[in-house]
């Protein structure tokens, strides 16, 4: 056990730090609160800049313009990006999830065709996984693809699609063999979102905004060469994408949560409670301390998981611990924020009396989604129960 950075890790971090020092955009603060539709060209430009420095996809193999970064280096990358408050990259799903899946399962022609455009943010990717009747039970999905000669005809509906509104391509999971067992009859198709019959609608969520879309497919023709991996092996291809979802990206959460709690402590020092600052109220102190401690434990858990993954090579079910831990912690953090802010906690952005321009009311609502998106807490506990502890399947 040695928690000091190795010379390689230090060099990686220092090289990134010095690159960021000269290349980080100075005007991000003017953009960050704007709707993503407006800031998207800005985010594309930022990704291109990162790509020029070979920083857009550090985890990718060197032959695909990545850096073959170790998991610990990837964690450092996200930490540094959070530290300098860098803008997100436009093609975050393409870089983080779909690109790696294409590199792992794609044909040479698919890699040549798609990888460069993912890196340059010229083609934005979205994911067509969940359906109205297939959420946690993803394998029960019903979107159908029927082979007609050299192309598939796709019919069905997807939901909770991030970047659907701007997506050029979609990693779409479809049912190609309705007679097979539900996990066995799925296939992943790479679908051009400009194909006739694709319709994208915004999905308004409880925060009032629309981060996600619904996708409708009506007789959409997809060339058979756009199958990713093998026909009817889509479950395995889709699962490898979901494993990447629980990878090193979480490393940035430590800094982000730390910023939240630090700001909250600062507020607690000025907000009065029973004639003294809330930060001197013994119960508030207990809650702030508990939350601060858990933010550190989240990082310790992550570091241990990264070390274990580095030893074993593949992301595994231990990612479920991280997912439960950060999502439930974020909810507890926002609940404490509400207790400290009192009636002010409910004010929306735009009200001049709202604290931090309504960030806390937004975050309180938004964090309810954290224990649902990317695998509900219940599914994560099923994964731990069955795959980690070896209990019988419950479903």
């Amino acid at each position: 056990m040695d928690l000091n950075l190795t010379p390689d890790e230090l060099q990686f971090r220092d090289e990134l730090r010095s690159w960021l020092a000269t290349n980080i955009p100075k005007d991000w603060n003017e953009w960050r609160e704007k709707p993503i539709e407006e800031s998207f060209p800005y985010l594309r430009a930022w990704q291109r800049k990162l790509q020029e420095g070979r920083w857009a996809a550090v985890s990718w193999p060197k032959e695909y313009a990545g850096r073959s970064a170790t998991l610990m280096q990837q964690a450092l990358f996200w930490e540094e990006m959070a530290r300098v408050e860098a803008p997100p990259m436009a093609n975050s799903l393409g870089l983080g999830l779909i690109g790696p899946t294409i590199i792992a399962h794609g044909t040479e022609a698919q890699k040549q065709r798609f990888i460069p455009q993912i890196l340059s943010a010229e083609e934005i990717w979205c994911q067509g996984f969940s359906e109205p009747n297939a959420g946690s039970d993803l394998a029960g999905l019903q979107t159908q693809a029927v082979l007609h000669g050299d192309h598939y005809v796709v019919n069905g509906q997807k939901v909770w699609t991030s970047y659907g509104w701007v997506g050029d391509w979609c990693e779409l999971v479809v049912r190609t063999d309705p007679a097979a067992a539900k996990h066995k009859g799925l296939t992943v198709l790479l679908v051009d979102m400009k194909s006739p019959g694709v319709e994208v609608r915004p999905l308004r969520q409880m925060t009032g905004e629309s981060e996600f879309n619904e996708l409708f497919f009506r007789d959409v023709r997809v060339p058979a060469e756009n199958v990713l991996g093998k026909v009817n092996d889509g479950w395995n291809v889709a699962m490898s994408t979901l494993m990447y979802e629980r990878g090193s990206y979480g490393a940035r959460l430590h800094l982000i949560f730390k910023r939240y709690i630090t700001r909250l402590i600062e507020l607690a020092q000025s907000i009065q409670r029973n004639g003294r600052p809330a930060a001197q109220d013994p119960i508030i102190r207990q809650k702030l301390a508990q939350c601060s401690a858990e933010i550190e434990i989240m990082r310790f858990n992550q570091m241990r998981a990264f070390s274990r993954l580095t030893a074993t090579g593949v992301p595994g079910p231990e990612g479920s611990i991280q997912k439960i831990f950060w999502s439930e912690l974020n909810q507890r953090l926002q609940q404490i924020a509400q207790e400290i802010l009192g009636p002010y906690g409910q004010l929306l952005g735009g009200d001049p009396r709202a604290i931090d321009n309504g960030m806390w009311s937004y975050a309180y609502l938004r964090t309810r989604g954290n224990t649902i998106e990317a695998g509900t807490s219940e599914v994560q506990r099923n994964i731990i129960g069955h795959f980690v502890l070896g209990l019988p399947r419950s479903y």
Binding site: R32, Q286, A293, F300, S307, F325, M359, I384
Partner: protein, 372 residues
């Protein structure tokens, strides 16, 4: 960065697990807990042969000179076996206090016999006010003599010498010292006995100032948290095994999500405690500036988690979990004793708050709605 165990650390942990399973199996642990002191001389000499009695102490005093992470691993395995007797009191607590406060001569006199397995000891800290804040100690030595009483002193009846924390210094006295009276305080944990220790004009030798005690208590607190992790792991293992085999409604109860999700939470709580404990061990070993906070984080989390893991373990066992015959309650009893020892979660949360809530320098960066 490598937050996993090295090969030699894995080896130490693995051999400790095998050693405790072989030399102190459940039947032996249950036999010892029914005795007056839960001490066994033969087991102690085997612990000594393994080098465990001198694990973190300098070779100059007969120790093995390993680090704090290694101590965490050993204590984790001792906790898994629910090792009865004065190992924590003697080696971890008295040993660390001597290591932190005593002069080389006093270390030769008191620490070396501990390392060599020749002496048992403990540290008397709490008084009737049961405060873990060292400032609340009232007992004061006068002309080298002590008069007063200490409560909740672990393993005092088997100690050859007792280390006493007084207002004006740290003292040692022999178990045979005049005016010393030791009487049991029967408590939940049967494997680590507690005592009232009374002094009446009892001569005591000063071995150092109280100023360095905090460091020794931090080591003991982290080690106790590690012991809790081992107990949690054992409780989890026993419970999962039961959930796989116990059948109701025609299937193993572990098939039901109401049971399975409790097991998943036990796992999450155990692993998170383990991460916090290993980090605390590393921070202590490296003399990291956040070591004290890291210890508080570990003790805070493990104290609450051990109780919760025990609650869940008993509940999942149903009626069986409420029987004397089932082992889970023995870990649950130990967990309660360890939860309050060296400050419970509330105590450590306040210690954390004093560091993070009261810190003047706040550099929060930008917080915005979209940052997470």
């Amino acid at each position: 960065m490598q937050f996993g165990l090295s090969e030699s650390q894995e080896f130490l942990k693995d051999s400790a697990r095998k050693f405790f399973a072989g030399e102190c199996p459940t039947a032996e642990m249950r036999r010892l807990m029914e005795t007056d002191t839960a001490y066994d001389a033969a087991l102690w000499s085997k612990l000594t042969d393994q080098g465990y009695t001198g694990i973190i102490f300098p070779e100059a005093y007969g120790g093995v000179g390993l680090g704090k992470v290694e101590l965490m691993l050993l204590m984790e395995e001792a906790g898994r076996a629910l090792l009865p007797g004065p190992f924590f009191s003697t080696v971890v607590l008295a040993g660390s206090v001597l290591d932190a406060v005593a002069s080389p001569a006093h270390k030769q006199k008191y620490l070396a016999p501990i390392c060599r397995g020749e002496a048992r000891s403990t540290v008397a800290i709490l008084e009737a006010n049961a405060s873990w804040n060292p400032r609340d100690v009232q007992l004061t030595a006068s002309s080298g003599k002590l008069t007063g009483e200490k409560y909740f002193v672990s393993d005092a009846a088997i100690a050859d010498f007792i280390i006493v924390v007084a207002r004006n210094g740290v003292f040692v006295l022999s178990a045979k010292a005049p005016g010393l009276k030791i009487s049991p305080m029967p408590a939940m944990d049967l494997t680590r006995k507690l005592y009232v220790v009374e002094f009446n004009n009892t001569p005591a030798e000063e071995i150092g100032a109280t100023t360095n005690l905090e460091r020794a208590f931090d080591v003991a607190t982290a080690a106790l948290s590690a012991e809790l992790v081992g107990g949690m792991q054992r409780t989890l293992d026993i419970t999962v095994e039961y959930a796989k085999t116990r059948k109701q409604f025609g299937k193993p109860i572990g098939t039901f999500q109401a049971v399975q999700h409790q097991c998943a939470d036990m796992y999450l709580e155990t692993e998170s405690s383990r991460s916090a404990v290993y980090y605390a061990g590393w921070a202590l070993e490296e003399n990291s500036p956040d070591a004290t906070t890291a210890v508080s984080i570990a003790k805070m989390y493990a104290s609450d988690a051990a109780r919760t893991v025990g609650n869940r373990g008993i509940q999942i066992h149903g009626g069986m979990g409420f029987t004397w015959e089932n082992d889970v309650h023995l870990y649950y009893r130990r967990a309660k004793g360890s939860e309050t020892a060296f400050g419970d979660a509330t105590f450590h949360r306040e210690r954390i708050a004093a560091k993070v809530v009261d810190s003047a320098a706040i550099d929060s960066g930008t917080v915005t709605a979209k940052s997470a």
